[in-house]
Subunit: 324 residues, 2 copies
């Protein structure tokens, strides 16, 4: 039986969070990141000319890693291609949002989903007069990737920040959230990244590569403190928050999504099952479970289109309610 | 004290190797891979026209992963950019070898090292008449990547095979080695991949995602059987073999490299220290320790150029000796 009451358990969580950040290796160029965030948010809140302010969404994407050694040779990784986050970013921009895309290095980028695995080597060829040209049938996909991506960046609607480890991810997420705090209910968090549940605290980590000579390897990993609580309580309390729950076992999925919704006071939890996640997801809110499916009559449709449409609608209602 | 004598310990190793392969998830398209290997080796052994046969080197590159769950969400990864393997491949091809490049998906590819992290989005732009063109200053790097890479593939001198998990890596390596057996001393293994030392046997692995609710995560990983022994003893006993030893602690590096040389009967072990590995390596042979450094008078020189030169020389001597 858990005898801790609410405030004791909150104090414990605060201590865990403090200890996580204190023991994390310092984030490189934190000042530079904060400057970029400030400029991006300012530009989109008070756009030059007659434009109206854009809502801002932070989309997280890809999986975090947990180093097992300080001079990192081995680490635990959470699988995520970043497809969900990259595709959702496109629909948010289309819907008029400015997107802070916090992504794992090497994962999918917005506007690049229909390209092959190694686009440079597969989509281009060197012609006889030694100019580089796009190979058929990739012309349209390459054009879209290059021009739409550049247009989003050049238009000031897309800011990309990358991470690899859980330490980088949570430190940058905190900086983003604190920069977005003043946006109040206009801010959205769409937390699609696959975040490690367990980590090895930096200070208890082996400095050098773990040696394999001496039998099996026993490891103890501790839980990553639940940062969603801090996000909702302190970093950006007015933001509209959507988190994701991925399970391989459909039997426990919805129950876990509901638990997350209540525990972290999310506005929505998107429940994915690993094997069907590209076809359908269930959106869990305080009083609904909404099944969202891709349009199966269209070969190239995706589940992100109706999902973002639903979210934008709910976010608009939330903004309106907050204004009352 | 280890009371096992040689043959008992060899029998134990054989049993471990058998159990590893028996319990591994089956390799996808094994027949297709073996067919490609056969054609590639035949083409290079008896090239059409008047060409002389090429020596064949298998270059392994990038790190392997160890899944922690059968429906893989989490895995342990070994860090390796694949830079060493990709660059070495270029020098082997230049020296007249045919290369089987066994690489981790997403790591560096031959001829692509001087490109930025995300070449498609950083090296190209859409001109006013909406054709895709290369951005300055990337023109030469892109041309080199596309034309040299295609030339190597089209010329039949480069075969690329990819892996992600330790199970895929070792199964493909075994197929490659057995396909190369008949090449005798003309075959080379250049084993630059960062291979996991520990794994979770497939059958003892959790089927579903490990849950985080119940406190810290304790894991026991067992050692991956030493496949180099099997490679030397059974798969391709006449091949010239170079393995790599990477450590973060320079104090134990050379000692561990010498141990590996003897234990696995390698012809050479390349000893790298993580922080200086792009500047210098030490090549350990039966009676020498040769320090190999990049030419520091040239800004764009690399350590792979003198390293492959040394290896090609030693391999030539080995081929001559074997012919006697």
């Amino acid at each position: 039986m858990d005898s801790r009451n609410g405030s004791v358990s909150e104090a414990l969580l605060d201590a865990e969070i403090e200890s996580f950040f204190d023991s994390a290796p310092p984030l490189k160029d934190r000042a530079g990141i904060i400057k970029k965030l400030k400029e991006f948010i300012e530009y989109n809140s008070t756009p030059p000319g007659k434009g109206s302010p854009r809502r801002v969404v932070c989309v997280t994407s890809g999986g975090t890693t947990v180093p097992l050694e300080q001079r990192c040779v081995r680490y635990i990784d959470n699988f995520s291609s970043g497809h969900r986050g990259a595709t959702s970013t496109e629909y948010f921009i289309k819907a008029g949002y400015a997107v802070i895309f916090l992504y794992r290095r090497g994962t999918f980028q917005p506007y690049c989903q229909s390209l092959p695995e190694d686009p440079l080597l597969e989509c281009f060829e060197c012609s006889d007069d030694s100019t580089i040209q796009v190979r058929q049938p990739h012309t349209e996909a390459v054009k879209r990737a290059v021009s739409d991506h550049h247009a989003a960046i050049a238009g000031g609607h897309l800011l990309k920040l990358s991470f690899t480890t859980i330490f980088e991810y949570l430190q940058i997420l905190q900086s983003i959230a604190m920069s977005m705090k003043d946006l109040g209910s206009l801010a959205v968090f769409y937390l699609a990244a696959a975040v490690s549940d367990f980590y090895v605290p930096w200070k208890s980590m082996a400095e050098h590569k773990i040696q394999s000579a001496s039998g099996p390897l026993d490891m103890r990993l501790v839980q990553v403190p639940k940062m969603l609580s801090a996000l909702k309580k302190e970093w950006a309390p007015m933001a509209f928050c959507i988190s994701f729950k991925l399970e391989t076992d459909s039997k426990i999925l919805l129950e876990k999504a509901e638990m997350a919704l209540k525990k972290y006071r999310m506005h929505m939890v998107v429940a994915n099952e690993l094997s069907t996640r590209k076809e359908e997801v269930t959106v869990v809110t305080g009083n609904e479970k909404i099944l969202v499916c891709r349009d199966k009559t269209q070969a190239d449709s995706d589940v992100e289109e109706p999902l973002i449409e639903l979210i934008v609608g709910r976010h608009s209602a939330y903004v309106k309610d907050s204004d009352l």
